[in-house]
């Protein structure tokens, strides 16, 4: 299980994937909004999004898990 984490305290502006979606390493799973900046939350490696743990509009802290990615399900 791979975790895509927020690296800064922020508001969850947009979630850009759905559970079950494939993502590649470096793809954004969500976009945070903090300090008037749009900060992507990146999938550290490729796989399928198995769980999204936040809602749009929610505040996340540095280190919070935004989405879990299952690498095992990719070929």
């Amino acid at each position: 299980m791979i975790e895509a984490r927020a690296d800064i305290v922020a508001n969850v502006w947009k979630i850009v994937v759905r559970e079950g979606d494939p993502v590649g390493a470096g793809d954004p799973v969500a976009v945070l909004e903090t300090m008037k900046m749009e900060i992507p939350v990146i999938a550290p490696s490729g796989g399928y999004v198995s769980r999204i743990l936040v809602n749009e509009g929610q505040i996340v802290q540095e280190g919070d898990v935004v989405a879990e990615i299952d690498a095992a399900t990719i070929g």
Binding site: D7, I8, M35, K36, E38, I39
Partner: protein, 497 residues
Amino acid sequence: MTQTDLHQLDATAHRAALTQRRRDAAVRVEPRGRRQYTARERVDMFVDAGSFVEITPLRTADGRGTGVLTGWGMVEGRPVVVIAHDAAVASGAIGAVFANAVTKAQRLAIDRGFPIVYVNDSGGARVPDGIFALHGCGEVFALNVAAQRRVPQISVILGPCAGAAAYSPALTDWTIMVKGHGHMFLTGPDIVKAATGEDASADDIGGSRLHTEKSGVAHLEAEDEESALAAARQILSFLPSHVGAAPAITEPEPADPTAVSQLPFVVPERASVVFDMHRVLDGVLDAGPRLELMPGHARSVLTVLGRLEGRPVGIVANQPDARGGILDSLASVKAARFVEFCGRFGLPVLTFVDVPGFLPGTVEEGRGVITHGAKLLKAYIEAPTPVLTVVVRKAYGGAYIAMGAKSLGADFQWAWSNAEIAVMGPGGAVTLLNRRELAAADDPIALRDELAATYREEVARPYLAAEAGIVDDVILPEETRGRLSDALEMLTAGTAR
């Protein structure tokens, strides 16, 4: 046969025995455990081929090697003092004689003005030597600090470095760790378990990932010993041999032509969209080798060694691609340390600004962001070398000042034509300035956006700062390299070449 017994031999036998003894001392014992190379092989790998000369090769402690190899060799033709722990002797533990050998080499480097490279692989203080070992460690630290004002010092961590062996690297300029083998900690996992009950692996408490990403104790992570030693050579390639010596100037190289042609389009139209600041550096600096220090730690600010028209420079830049390019406690300390380093070793500091501000909130205030941010202010204020600052996009509030502003002593500060310089971002500013108007509005959000757009154009654009003389000029992205190199040529005229 003891040293004195050699004198009983006739001249020919004596000569042969001495040669053999030197050879034995050089080869030492086979590498132990997972180690691939002996101390001597490591040193030979680091210096120009065949150039290493050992100091006191016959010296012993308790009838065996001192546990440390000291000497000098050439790096790209310039002498460098090398101090390499010999893990084959008592796990490289630092005894009284070991420490004395180290301080002798440090003293040579300080007195004669040569960089020092420490090849570290040591279990810490040598217990049988008791307080004599501790005293020796303290003497090494004292000379680490004395050397800071005089010569570059680089530590390469190729094995465990516990306790006293971890503090010496922390007093040097740059520390490089080998992934998987290099460890730095106060005490190893067993003692941690005994002392506090915490279960932690050597990687957990002192691995290269911990120290190059989270703690910032080490500054570069290398895949293997060869690349760690190559990185040490690369750092030295940007530096003078000692404070005040001639800069390591090479043939000028133009910036990468593709990156130059892209430069006007690198910064996204919308101020909230991130981009990779490396693309700006690509379009401005010489295309030749560049070295990013602390790439994994406090990634919202970049600290890079590079060249402009062949002259080595230090680059500090916000990295919008990482955490929006904000300043926080760790980023401030990282940048402050780098600016201070550049100042000591004659490197001009080029600063590229796109900063939304200092990250506010309970976490950062609790970390002491005020104290850490102040270190960055102080580093710029005290920098003795040329400081040239380019505002690429946003520069707001205290972070505007902290990123090498004119008021801190920057020789020149320019802003790109689309830059925004203001006491705070347009959204926040109009919320504060137009509180009553907004409260009375039918659609406060629409009004706020409208006011913010006007504020951005009328207040934040760099022409106001340029008209006030706070920004020296408003420039186009493609003019940046020319402005920087003209200024550097002027500011460094008459200094050592």
